[in-house]
Assembly symmetry: C2
Homo-oligomer: 341 residues x 2
């Protein structure tokens, strides 16, 4: 079913990094996993689990887990997966760059984070490009789509998109990841796939607020529909293909994040809708809710390009300016009556 025996380094042992390492290992590849947190490395080495991140999931023993970047990136590494939270991606690429320069068999670099870097407002593949030599740039790809780690680890049927420039390389990566429960489509729209993945986390916070306040499925259907419109508006301004947002990495991921109990962004919104304060919520969470920082970055990006993004505006006001979530939702629902498009 899958290509046999590729050498793959997964950098980042969060829930998604673990699920991907497990998937690739079970697909018959040799996988090494770099994790920053030594305690997590020890935990996986001794128990072959990380119950803090993936409950009741066994991490295959064949995966080589290490805290040392040079060990994870061996001379034979053919594919590198960056599974690093968006705001730590640049420093991790810098940390890996010397080792990467010495690799002779490197075929592809795959980002799986969803976000936009604060201050630079760059997409994840742009951040990676910034820190690596020019001849590698066309080999940088992003994998995105509706793919909660908890479900992929449990072999629940999942479909995602791999986006990049080189179609032959995309086909190889498609084979690398695909199996009976994990299906990968190809896309050439790196901008669209990355913007969709980032902004959906903001809409997901809004969806959580709706649930927290106690509104219904009618409200959520309307919110997600308007959400895709504003994601698409930003994407078009940045040069994306509008159709990408109707695919798995846009609408698909948005729906899954907005309905799933696994979604950390939806959870943050839910608690805010219930009346809790953001700092209080974040300090009680083990994993990163990308949508919070993303709201800041996308708010800056939409201001820079002067784009109308009402949901992002309201969530920004709720998260960082203490606006009442109830008030924000009412404002979203009562904008002046007009035609739909």
């Amino acid at each position: 079913m899958s290509t046999i025996g590729n050498n793959i380094a997964v950098l980042g042992g969060g829930a998604w990094g673990l699920a991907i390492a497990k998937l690739l290992s079970e697909n018959g590849n040799q996988v090494s996993l770099w994790e920053f947190n030594q305690a997590y490395v020890d935990l996986i080495k001794t128990t072959h689990t990380n119950p803090y991140l993936l409950k009741d999931i066994e991490i295959p023993e064949s995966i080589m887990v290490t805290n040392e970047m040079e060990k994870a990136l061996s001379i034979n590494t053919e594919y590198i997966i960056f599974a690093i939270p968006s705001q730590f991606l640049r420093s991790s690429v810098i940390k890996a760059s010397a080792s990467i320069a010495s690799l002779h068999n490197l075929k592809g670099i795959i980002n799986v984070a969803k976000g936009v870097e604060e201050k630079t407002l760059k997409r994840m593949s742009e951040v990676i490009s910034d820190e690596l030599p020019l001849d590698l740039h066309d080999r940088i790809m992003t994998l995105s789509g509706p793919s909660h780690a908890e479900e992929v680890a449990r072999k629940i049927p999942t479909a995602v998109v791999i986006a990049g420039k080189d179609d032959q390389l995309l086909q190889k990566v498609q084979q690398l990841f695909s199996n009976a429960y994990f299906r990968v489509y190809r896309s050439h729209d790196l901008i669209g796939v990355e913007i969709g993945g980032a902004v959906k986390n903001i809409i997901s916070i809004a969806a959580g607020i709706i649930d927290g306040i106690g509104y219904g499925d009618n409200t959520k259907g309307a919110l997600l529909t308007r959400g895709i419109v504003e994601i698409q508006r930003l994407g078009i301004a940045l040069g994306a293909n509008p159709e990408t947002f109707l695919g798995l990495s846009g609408m698909g991921d948005l729906i899954t994040t907005a309905i799933s109990p696994h979604s950390r962004n939806r959870y943050v919104g839910y608690e805010i809708g219930k009346g809790r304060k953001l700092t209080d919520i974040l300090s009680s969470m083990k994993a990163v809710a990308e949508g919070v920082v993303t709201t800041k970055s996308i708010f800056d990006l939409k201001s820079k390009y002067d784009i109308d993004m009402p949901i992002t505006e309201q969530i920004n006001a709720v998260l960082f300016f203490d606006k009442s979530p109830h008030e924000a939702m009412i404002q979203l629902m009562t904008r002046s009556l007009k035609e739909e498009n």
Copy 2:
């Protein structure tokens, strides 16, 4: 907030007809309600509720409820709402046609059913047109979007679309329905709005099957994404605007139906996923699950126009040819790997 004192006849006292009659009455209009079932008429007249269809909801006393069509359509009727299950719409329009011909103040006719007529394969507005004189055709509209009756009756924030040909009339209807919790957008794409509303019920059955089998939110996100693609494909063949399917009456309604515990179509799918037989499920339901008949009609329509609609094909096989739902879902997930668009 709303136009005051219009004379409106709601034909059909199902859950949606009741919720609409209540909404329009509370917006300050004079509303009459025709219901076929005399027992329901008596129940509403005496208790001002219908707990079989809308639990814990009071039907305003000012609504005149009757089993006689001529009484519901008074000489002053300005708007008629057809809230009739799709397969009974034609006979109801025929029943009302003599009274309608005698109305002098009739401004608009609004269909709120979602389906396609069996055998003729006609949309709801086409069925109404068939049975009414030509000079009324431009006044026929369809209201659609993510709007579970149970939530509208509880004043949960909801946004929908009114589609038709005459923009001045659409603006009037927009005012008629709109209030603090119910928001109406206008559209000129009657075909797209009606096809989206009909086909989403099929995808909703598929979403229910996914839940019944025990698949996850990743699977559902992927399914709904591919669902919109096939709805759009059919719509384009029939002359719809592709963008309509990304709006409230397409994607919005699809999401709400596929996640809501109120959805009867999702319920049918859920029970099938659990292993129950269709006839057994349907015989235990009080309300109509439009998606079952719609699957038949849309399957015929897609065959007629030779359109690729894999989800509709699989659901048709599951519902009417006893195909295993598990097998159908696996086939949907494992189609050959390719590019997304």
